[in-house]
Amino acid sequence: MKTPTYLPAVAGLALCATGALAETPVLQVMTYDSFVSEWGPGPSVEAAFEETCACDLQFVGTGDGAALLARLQLEGPRTDADIVLGLDTNLTAAARETGLFAPHGVEVDLSLPIAWTDPEFLPFDWGYFAFVGNEGDAAPTSLRALAESDVQVVIQDPRSSTPGLGLLMWVKAAYGDEADAVWADLADNIVTVTPGWSEAYGMFLDGEADAVLSYTTSPAYHLIAEDDASKVAWRFDEGHYMQVEVAGKLAATDQPELADQFLAFMVSDAFQSIIPTTNWMYPAVTPAEGLPEGFETLMTPEKSLLLSPEDAAAKRDAALDEWRAALSQ
């Protein structure tokens, strides 16, 4: 809704939104908050898809990826959503366990640095976690080097934030049984742990830390949107843990054809070319015109790390305990 009508909204009149569109089929996509925001991919995606589908595409935004899964679990099989978009591989095992998802059935050549075979969840974008610091500052070259340095970083809590959980898995994937020792060494480098990405990133920009846990693509925002080349992502020798963001079709959808059409659209150029400069991630399928100018300056890791969804789910609780014990000393 570009021009909201306040009074009906305030009166809680449920009826005002859809009356005129009753004939048009509605596809409801449940996603995370920043996807649907004015500055996220949502509005452009909606416009592009509605041009081709003769339907009404509605986004329902809720918190971050983890909140999204919780929301789906709250709604259960009764949910009105047809598609869930925005889970990552640390959450897909739990999502699969709900039994609410159907196979996506899409065959496509993905531009991921890893092979993708998941029958239920289809990637729409991906990125590497990285510490982002200021150009010109001494940059550690590995997690170990960071742990041994005096560099001060701010990270997110793995219990409340998806990047925080990503770092937990990063250390686990890189160091396995030695992860707790690495965390113990990292403890004095961590200024603080924030509930979400926004708080941490805001604190870094305000100079509270030398670097922040974010993505290798974060400097692209500053470069492209603000013409500011002062932010750099640090390359670490252990490799970088990936975040692959996926969508899935709900088995109980009342619009199965539209849902299939949306998933096919999702990996097409029309959708994928919107992603880099709105979600600030790599598109899952590089569009024909390539990546936007500026993305070629980004640091690309030599090694990609990613635990399988089942592995990530199985290791999470123990990894959390290690993390908590190491940082509570």
Binding site: P4, G12, S37, T192, S198, M203, R324, S328
Partner: protein, 507 residues
Amino acid sequence: MARSPVAITPFWPGAAAAALVLLLTIGTLAAVAWRAKWDAGLSVADWAAIRFTIVQALVSAGLSVVLAIPVARALARRRFAGRQMLITLLGAPFLLPVIVAVLGLLAVFGRGGMVNNALTGLGFEPISIFGFHGVVLAHVFFNLPLAIRLILQGWLAIPAERFRLAATLNASVWRMLEWPMLRAVAPSTFLVIFLICLTSFAVALTLGGGPRATTVELAIYQALRFDFDLGRAALLACVQFALCVMAAAVVWRISLVDGMGAGLDRVVQRWDTDRPVLDYIFIAAATVFLLLPLSMVVLRGLPGLFDLPTSIWAAALRSVIVAIGSAMLCVAMALALALRGGALVSVIGVLPLAASGLVVGTGAFLIVFPFVRPSDVALIVTMLVNATLALPFALRAVAPAVAAVQSDFGRLAISLNLTGWSWVRIVVLPRVRRPLGFAAGLAAALSMGDLGVITLFAGQAQETLPLAMYRLMGAYRMADAAGAALVLLALSLALFWICDRGGRADA
């Protein structure tokens, strides 16, 4: 909150308000527990979180009250130009969304903040704000204003006649009037702040420096968001309620009830206002501590203010409407409950403080979802929940005033057969205008800054200002977000000021 010997107000408004509070606190908890699979117990980490939660809440609340007493006393004793404005401004930290206040605090006490710049400039070692002391500092920053206001209300409620009496008797105002007043007001102020700190989450985590600073509320967040373990969330919410009940029981034991009789609303004159310098030192210290981080919020926000996206203004309008709605509802509920009086009302008046915002939101979602689309009722539910969450503060301001009216004029009214709505309109309302205005302002401003329920319910068309601000931050637009925060601060203060002013004939 003594009940008058004869019921002079009808039963149902108080009962309806009580029912709504119970529904949104215990009812939502029950809705979560209902859906839970019960295999949860408390882990070692949970016990550590409970310990940390209690200790930081005790220290934060204690410090807030102890520091507030001299400031409130000074403000009650002195009259100076700009005093009203200062009192309103001092209330601001309490009204801010957490993240805004935290970034403001960091601009003063953080690594690149003013304090450390000054320290390093003078050749000292910089200090770190992160740790237990940071949590306490932030909680005092948030709650000192509330403590000052609640205690100041106590001071202003002492009738002029008693000061005359004290002066006539040449008795110590402190021992005869102020100390008994504090015995009545300070413990309940402590309780309110203790409970606020008990359910703190983002402040504790962000400034606590790591998982040591885990509170029960964070554990609830984790259980609801990441583990989808409703049973554990419900169990932890019960722990919060249990802590609340225990704290309330202790406080009510040590609170005193005022028994000195009524006043006739004369302008207070005092004869004990010696040592003005000390008073002004207290006022100045509190002003610097509270307003410095706020001015940083303003400075951070100014650059982004002038090219804010238009959607921010739509969100701001929505927030203002929700705030006004919840303020009216909150004041009506507070008045109804205060007129009803009794022990149940005292319990209901603290329950919302102990409620976990997340459990309330989740429970409300579970209750609403089978019947309507959550986004369709997002603003209504936000209004109801915010009115309920602000109720303890409103009740704390309104109930003593109403009880005083009842004990002072109740018998007279009954002998005149002045009951029901006429009694409320003719006797009660004019005499409780000041606390009502304060309560309405507080409720409105708290509702402006709220980011609890709305995150679970709102769609794109129900975005409120705090939510829009968070979405800006999530889209890397920190400057715009800081601008939005400034708008939020200004609107919250304006709403608070208008309501508070409207209720104040004198002061």
